[in-house]
Symmetry: C2
Subunit: 188 residues, 2 copies
């Protein structure tokens, strides 16, 4: 079984993008070497990334650019190198390196992926994907970085989830830049 993990940075009021679909609030913090090491460590690993269309388009428009390579070289390298899966009914093709477009039934496809062998799968952003998979118990871990800012409006990472989801806190870690990592598993 491959493990499926959700990783999101959110504002204190629970949004992973602002009202304009922008995620840059998560990178506006003061320098913090310990945080930088944590982020680079995440990006340098293996595994597969899983996206919905909206988050895919946001990421594909940033990480392959020279600006991304200059601002966050290690993360950009990882994002471009890793295997990526994007679920979309409307996209015709994908141009970002190492990306596969999937059109099948989301739940069935993810069950098939998880049953195979290989490294872990990580969902970034993609609130509607999270909301469809979580009620089926298909997400094994939720990692949320609470960024010390209030946005007021934006997209929630559990967009349209059909029922409440009780969780179990497994660990937490606070960083000097004010970010707090909270890790949860589904309540069994």
């Amino acid at each position: 079984m491959r493990k499926l993990l959700m990783f999101n940075s959110t504002s204190l009021d629970g949004y992973f993008t602002d009202a304009n679909g922008d995620m840059s609030f998560a990178h506006n913090r003061a320098q913090d070497p310990e945080w930088d090491a944590f982020v680079s460590g995440n990006a340098s690993g293996g595994g597969t990334l899983l996206f919905g269309r909206k988050t895919y388009e946001l990421m594909a428009s940033f990480w392959p650019t020279p600006a991304a390579a200059q601002m966050m070289p290690k993360v950009a390298e990882g994002m471009n190198r890793l295997q990526k899966l994007v679920f979309s009914r409307t996209l015709k093709q994908v141009s970002w390196s190492n990306t596969t477009l999937l059109k099948g039934d989301l739940v069935a496809e993810v069950q098939r992926l998880k049953a195979g062998s290989g490294e872990g799968i990580v969902i970034l952003g993609s609130g509607s994907i999270v909301s469809q998979l979580a009620p089926h118990g298909l997400i094994d871990e939720f990692q949320v970085v609470v960024v010390p800012v209030v946005l007021g409006r934006g997209r929630t990472m559990f967009e349209g989830i059909a029922r409440q989801l009780p969780l179990q806190l497994t660990r937490s870690r606070s960083f000097k830049n004010g970010n707090v990592l909270l890790c949860y598993e589904p309540m069994s």
Copy 2:
């Protein structure tokens, strides 16, 4: 100067009530003596509570009841005993013990209250009050308990805030029941 503090329990997706205006998700956790001591300690102190109408009506319909006295005796005693202020343009009268109804300009009234002497003032719930006061720098501390549950829908504690609010993390504390307390000050 009196200190003004916001205290809220929220779901991981940032809601302090569920879609029905219910806050009971915050009390559904497993027993945790350390958490109980923390909550009782908060309720046993002095100070003044500040509400908007919606949160006032929710609290006034619960804390004076025999059910509240049985379920959470120390907290109920504190809630009923403490001085309470409620801002509302529509309420005609208030029946909860030790409550004063205020009809003046919210910002000017809170500036006047803070300039006086006395113990601290605590806002519970009351997203629209928080959103009106925070951009004026009138809230000195934000205390948020992240409860390990996803609600999917509900009211945000920064309802309708007009601009983004950068914060500074001052401390964090995790409890065995999975609640995590996050404390922030406004970024100066």
